[in-house]
Each structure stands twice: as structure tokens, then as C-alpha cells.
Symmetry: C2
Subunit: 136 residues, 2 copies
Amino acid sequence: MQIVDEILKIKKVKNTAVRTVVLRHLLSQEKAQSLKDIENALVYTDRSSIFRTLKTFENNKIIHSIEDGSGMIKYAVCVKGCNCDPKDLHYHFYCNNCDKTFCLFDVPFQNIELPENFKIQQANMVVKGLCNNCNK
Amino acid sequence: MQIVDEILKIKKVKNTAVRTVVLRHLLSQEKAQSLKDIENALVYTDRSSIFRTLKTFENNKIIHSIEDGSGMIKYAVCVKGCNCDPKDLHYHFYCNNCDKTFCLFDVPFQNIELPENFKIQQANMVVKGLCNNCNK
DNA sequence: TAATCTTTGCAATCGAGTTGCACCATATGG
DNA sequence: CCATATGGTGCAACTCGATTGCAAAGATTA
């Protein structure tokens, strides 16, 4: 998995066993993952280690977190070149039926006209409904 | 406070002591309130009663909940005529500095072009940054 | 190699949310 | 007007995701 090494190198985060498996797992998933999801997938890795790894990744903008209303924070790998600035924002979609959370990278993020003197720094945009798989 | 009675009547929710004080409190606040906020304000009212009251209000579309990433669900009174449908959606603003969450009723909600076969049912849109009071 | 810093695993803790249960208030029917 | 049913309330306990303290293991540097 060279991609894992490459990402960590670019973001200047030291490579470790836990970091490798966590990032590899995140990259392999189409939907955003909760701490529990990762814990279940990586049976031999401790929860707190995964937790701290996620915090490290988030601080170094390797991943971003999503609050989709499921009660669990979800994590997804940032796209290449993302700095988690307002310009890098995208919508998320939470499926009420299958419980999956997707990053909608292809849906353009519209500029929001905030009231006078309000300044945007980040955003958490979650559209909820039925995904293409469940809307049948 | 006739407005409280009026809202409860319109939404067909029976008036009780707890419901009156909770709704009155929510109406008196400019920012969305967490369970803890309300608990702190209404010292003599039990937490679980407030909790169940909020659930009742939410089910009857008197209030809506907001997940602003603070770790606590916030509640705000719906505007008149709101049915919590996608058409009634609005943005929320969370201030990273003062921790307040506002409903941005005046910011138009833009239509989002979802991918093929995705169906919107609700949304939780939170813009984070600095509010007009903190952005100085 | 010794000293230092970082990462990891385990166990414990925190806190928001939620629930069970008994009691109380209201209203409904005889 | 009382008896019963229905729903609301307060208290205490519990759930579960998130987080932290601490000591051991591993990596890095002098």
C-alpha cells in the first residue's frame, strides 16, 4: 500500500503500525467510518489507539469528521489537495434506511450569503434521505 | 404568555407546567438551547421531564433539533407554518468562539442537486465560524 | 548504550442521552 | 362525587460513545 505511505509523508505524520491499518481501512471503504466501525474491522487494534490515531489524522488534515446525526462521529479521508478550508467543503449524505454516510464530492458546494460580519471557517452539511440503493 | 398556549393549541399538544416553562424558555432565547442549557435555566424542573418534553415538542414539530458539533443536541422553536419538511429547511450557524448556535432564517436555502436516485428527506446544515459579535 | 520522546494497550472515567418505575394530576365515565 | 383510566413528572439507575491516566513498549537522539 504505497498510497498510505505517500499520504502520511505528504502530511508529515510519522508512519506506525496502527496508523497504517487505520488509514488503509478508511481508504478501502466507500462510506464514512465511525470509531466502532473501525474497531470492529481491526479486531487486534485497541480502541483508544484508533481514537488517538483519528485525532492525529484529523489535526493533520488527513481525514475529516462528519456528524451525521447517528450519534457517532464518522470519518472519511480527505481528497488530495484538501486543506479542510471552506473552499474544500462538500456535502454529506446520510441514508435513513441503510445508515451509510457518503461524501458527495461531485455536488458543488454553494456559496452561502451569511449575515453581515459573520465569518465562515468550517461547515458540517448533512443531507438525509434515501440513497440510490435504498430509494427503490 | 399567550403565545405559548397558542402554539401548543395549534400543534394539539396538551399544556402542562413543564411544557409551559420549557417552551417559554426556548422562545425567550436568541440561541438554540441544549438540554443542559434548559436544565440550568429551569432549576426546579427535572432533566428527564425536560428531555421528554423536548421529544414531545419535536415529534409535534413545535421545535427542531440541531447537531452543531458541540456534542450536545440543540433545540430551537420552529417558525410559524414550519412542518419540518425539506422546504422548511434553513442553515444554522455555530460560533466557534462563543459557542452559540443560531438559526439563519434569512439565509435562503439553496436547492442541492443530488446524484441520480438520491432522495432528500431532511438535512442538518451547520456553518461554523465567527458570529457578528465575536468577529471583531 | 543511555536518555528522551512518542505510541500503544488496558482500564477507568466522563457525560449526554435514555429508560424503568412509582407517584401524582387530570380527565373520563358511572 | 367517587372510581378508574390515562398521561405527565421526578428520581435513580443505566447505556454507550468519547476520552483520559498510566505504565509498558517502541522509536529516536545524544
